[in-house]
Amino acid sequence: MPFKITVSIPETATYKMVMSGKVPLMRTDLEVAGQREKTRIIQRTLRGVDFQGRKFAPYSTNGPIYVYPQHRGTVKARRAAAQRLYRQLGKRGTGAQRTRLGIRFDSYAAYKASLGRSPGVVDLYGPRAPHMLQAIVVRVEGDTIILGIYGEEALRASGHNEGIPGRLPQRRFFDISRAELALIKQDILASVTARLRD
């Protein structure tokens, strides 16, 4: 089941906004607006704020937690993978401790801090690719812009966006505020205006 936001821009309303003459709305006007909204979603998520500009729920400070870079395989291979990650994360001030097959952190927040992100910023990114924010797809159908996350990444995105009681706090990154809707309208207007100018 895809995970998506649909924004309908009625042609008649935009027509009125743009001008008093007869200027058709082109698909690319909506495509540009959709792509710019995708950029906004990614940028504000990287800043650690949701669609309303509120800070995401902080990472858990419960612990300890154990990170195992490799869950299966020989003991030697698993230890080597843990050692590689430990070297990358750095030792000083991270609170990281090597265990036999993994790395111990005081909490999930401490683990994320060891990755070297800005302190206190929850950006939903992990240490590996691919990521759900790479999977945002923008489509235009008629007068509707659709931003979606499809396939397996949709499941993860849904978990973060809605929260999982007892497991994952809600961090609503995939939504659109009134202010962003206004910006989408502006982008459409700017696109149409640029087209008229050319």
């Binding site: 935009t14 992100r117 590996r128």
Partner: protein, 306 residues
């Protein structure tokens, strides 16, 4: 609710993505193929009283075929099916292929006849799937080839147990590399989808500029750091991006920083940041929609606003 329980279960199992699942399944297959290969070798190799591999022409012939024996065993237990299953999961990230093709068809002035056809995008993505399958297979074949070389040179020196250990270790070395390539292939698939959307804008707009987005942390490679810094000041055009070199893979517009890269190119956003009002927590659009919670459809609300 069932979907969220699925997420929790899979997180517990350490399988949080298609790539992790691919790796887990690959490890399982390689373990089983290794056992089968060793069983074949034990049956066919001549060993002396002390269990050492005898120096003989027939043993050399068998050892020269270790890579083929291993690949046969691997294929026999579903390796090709695993590769195909992984790369065909890529379209799950798209609105179903047929849906996309139908949409494109619906937007053409003259509708195409109702036959199976492939758009340039579908061809490009299909080609990428085939490439990913081939590359992933070659990683394992390369490990098997190296195992063969080590086995050949070990004749007369090692007993069978030691030889088994060498082969098992060598076969397993392909898993980490295959996982990296699988992750890279999937990320590239997403960027190819995005690039398709961008190309439609570029056909109409004079100058589209892109910003490099993604995490900045200890794992970020130097190329990505430079791009994050550079495009924050001045977004780049597609032409400028095509001239870049990440030192790993060609076509930076699709490969970004290279293997396992977490970054992406996005249409530049200049001067339109949403600044939250101090102290205010206005309800979101979805919360305002009567009785509707969840990821969904703002069309009715958007129409009201507009």
């Amino acid at each position: 609710m069932a979907r969220r329980r699925d997420i929790a279960k899979r997180t517990d199992a350490g399988i949080t993505s298609a790539v992790s699942a691919f790796r887990s399944n690959l490890e399982d297959l390689i373990s089983r193929a290794t056992i089968r290969t060793l069983a074949v070798l034990r049956r066919d190799l001549d060993l002396d009283i002390e269990g050492r591999v005898v120096v003989s022409a027939s043993n050399q012939t068998i050892l020269r075929r270790i890579d083929k024996i291993f690949m046969q065993q691997l294929d026999g237990i579903g390796f090709q099916a695993l590769l195909k299953g992984f790369v065909t999961s890529f379209p799950g990230q798209l609105p179903v292929f047929t849906e996309t093709l139908e949409f494109i068809n619906a937007n053409l002035k003259t509708r195409l006849p109702n036959v199976t056809f492939k758009t340039p995008l579908a061809r490009a993505l299909a080609a990428q799937q085939i490439s990913a399958t081939g590359i992933l297979r070659r990683v394992v074949e390369a490990a098997a080839e190296t195992a063969k070389q080590k086995a050949i040179f070990s004749v007369g020196g090692y007993d069978f147990e030691a030889l088994s250990e060498i082969l098992a270790t060598q076969f397993r070395k392909s898993i980490g590399q295959a996982e990296t390539l699988a992750a890279t292939a999937m990320a590239m698939y997403y960027r190819t989808l995005a690039a398709n959307g961008y190309s439609q804008i570029e056909q109409v707009k004079k100058e589209v500029r892109y910003v490099y987005l993604g995490p900045l942390d200890r794992l970020t490679r130097p190329f990505c750091r430079r791009m994050l810094r550079r495009t924050r000041k001045t977004p780049l055009t597609h032409t400028q991006i095509d001239k870049l070199d990440n030192g790993q893979l060609p076509n930076v517009f699709v490969t970004a920083g290279g293997y396992n890269c977490r970054h992406q190119w996005a249409v530049a956003e200049v001067g339109t940041e949403v600044v939250p009002e101090e102290g205010k927590e206005a309800p979101g659009i979805l919360q305002q929609a009567a009785g509707r919670v969840g990821h969904a459809f703002l069309s009715a609300v958007a129409k009201r606003i507009l």
